[in-house]
Symmetry: C2
Subunit: 352 residues, 2 copies
């Protein structure tokens, strides 16, 4: 996954970018109707076959046909943001094509026939959009999309109509969040046509101080305009966060450093670690790295933050169960997480 061109401080706030396009095929019933169709299975197989063949010509994709995928595997794909929970609801007709490096995922027969997604580290919506457009062109060449000259791309839900584009950026906002500025910022973002969610969509706000900002409106605006609004809002959020981090460090001094260093001490030594505590302590640790408590990289490039974010995904409950290949009790899961987290953080070489 290539990185963006922003300075490293930016990446310590704007963690990753994601572009999603919603598309439907002109000549097939929409998934919700397809589910009730007596020929659903054949039509779904046809779509999956055509898409697979086309995408395989581009690069190496793994096909997950959802009716053949175990619950555990599906949960892992969800935790990695490669599929949505909704895809699982359409199991008999649903599939996902995931590129080898997991940067591209194409969901088939979720709410729409196709949900194309590109994911990258850091902030670069423009490049992410170019990348997914290439995929989009290939798909539309193979099966014609449902497109209206006036409305644009037709989608199952009107909130996706028009461009079918959702541009979202995952932000790490510990200073804004802990200093209670989020409640002022959210209405402003809403007025710009943007929404703020937690790591797993609505209802998961403020898990480890991670927030996802994305466009709400898809209709009546060009793709370029949508990307611009999101990127500008994110730019402002990053600047605010960096400023608040500086204030926080100056005002809270040793108390803040104590919280951070205790997080490090616990994460590298504990023997039981539930997800909630892990999320909180990891956020403390990441904040501490961003504040320079562990030293700064001399050349400005620094992989610590990305490695810790990867760790966060690796030790989600389904990820742990999959690695161990069995259902775990809460204590077993906590024990495994503690061991894995401690080993990984020690191996990251946090002190620069």
């Amino acid at each position: 996954m290539k990185r963006s061109n922003y300075p490293v401080e930016f990446e310590w706030v704007a963690v990753s970018s994601r572009i999603r396009l919603a598309r439907n095929f002109r000549d097939y019933p929409f998934p919700a109707r397809l589910m009730k169709d007596p020929h659903a299975a054949e039509q779904a197989s046809e779509m999956i076959r055509l898409l697979s063949a086309e995408l395989e010509s581009l690069e190496d994709f793994t096909l997950y046909e959802m009716d053949c995928v175990s619950d555990e595997r599906a949960a892992v794909l969800t935790e990695k943001y490669l599929i949505s929970r909704d895809l699982i609801k359409h199991r008999p007709i649903a599939a996902a094509l995931v590129s080898k490096d997991e940067s591209i995922s194409v969901m088939i027969n979720e709410e729409d026939h196709v949900r194309e997604q590109y994911f990258m580290q850091g902030l670069d919506l423009k490049r992410a959009y170019e990348r997914i457009s290439g995929i989009d062109d290939v798909i539309s060449d193979s099966i014609p999309f449902a497109y209206d000259a006036e409305l644009g791309y037709l989608t199952a839900c009107p909130t996706n109509l028009g461009t079918g584009l959702r541009a979202s950026v995952m932000l790490f906002l510990p200073a804004i969040s802990r200093r209670k500025h989020m409640r002022h910022i959210i209405p402003t973002l809403n007025r710009l046509g943007l929404t703020v969610r937690g790591t797993f969509g609505e209802g998961s706000l403020n898990e480890g101080d991670m927030f996802q900002v994305s466009n709400e409106v898809t209709l009546g605006k060009s793709e370029e305009d949508i990307l611009l609004v999101v990127e500008q809002a994110v730019g402002l959020l990053v600047e605010t966060e960096l400023r608040e981090r500086g204030r926080m460090k100056a005002e809270e001094g040793l108390t803040l450093k104590d919280t951070v260093m205790r997080a490090y001490g616990v994460l590298t030594n504990c023997c039981l670690l539930d997800e909630k505590e892990f999320t909180r302590r990891l956020s403390d640790l990441k904040l501490g790295i961003a504040l320079g408590y562990f030293g700064m990289a001399e050349n400005g490039r620094d992989d610590r933050m990305r490695e810790l974010n990867d760790l966060a995904i690796a030790v989600r409950p389904a990820g742990i169960s999959r690695i161990l290949g069995e259902k775990l009790t809460a204590d077993e899961e906590s024990a495994y997480r503690a061991e894995y987290v401690s080993k990984t953080i020690k191996s990251i070489d946090l002190f620069y």
Copy 2:
């Protein structure tokens, strides 16, 4: 300070032994009366001079004349158990003679004219008694003691009458204490004529799971009998504690190890550490060492516990103020303690 001959597990329970003899001189008013005497100063100086001269002939002693000692220095001596809080009350006439290795301390004009104390690591009351008897003989040769053929040594308080002997052992009893067995054990010890106190005497029970067991009765028994009762009771406590530690480890498994390892992680990484948390976490850490979580010494000898007990004394509030030579705010004290503790524990080489 020479060690006792018990196995190392014993020392991880019975931390140190202390013998104290209370004596008064025949030809001087008892301290409480001396305080009101118009010639108190001269009489006190005389005693101090005679005792100093006599003890200096034995080995290297430092003389602290209490009316010349700062409050800070007095507090440090108290934290090291070399003088008592009561000695400070008799400041105009009081003094202390402390041997270079701090194993012997002779308080002059506390409640009694002389309080002779010998302190050693581990459990060996008999040797401790022999050691202090040598001191006692030298003192009685220089100034005759108040002694009654029937009652024995005369003391200011009847609870010290007879032998004037207090034999006490400091015990680290985390398993007994955390498993709530202390409330059954204390009445049994009381019936044997023994008392249980915390690290700083009455009212300080259960500071870091440390308990001091000593004889209550000094009259009507020989010194040998007193030592025997204390040593036997301590032996039983040690065995009980070791058995409970084994049970605790078996029953609480990873939860207990998690507590211990978190204590290690916090103590070696935190930036602020108040005395209460330090005491609790140090107890967790010591318990973890005793349970073998950090590996066992191959030859059976192991200095980790002693070094951690020394650390506990070094970072008491007065100790910290003295090192820094100034009065500290609570936060400054916590910051200094955190740094000192972290540095020291890292230097101890805990993992065998």
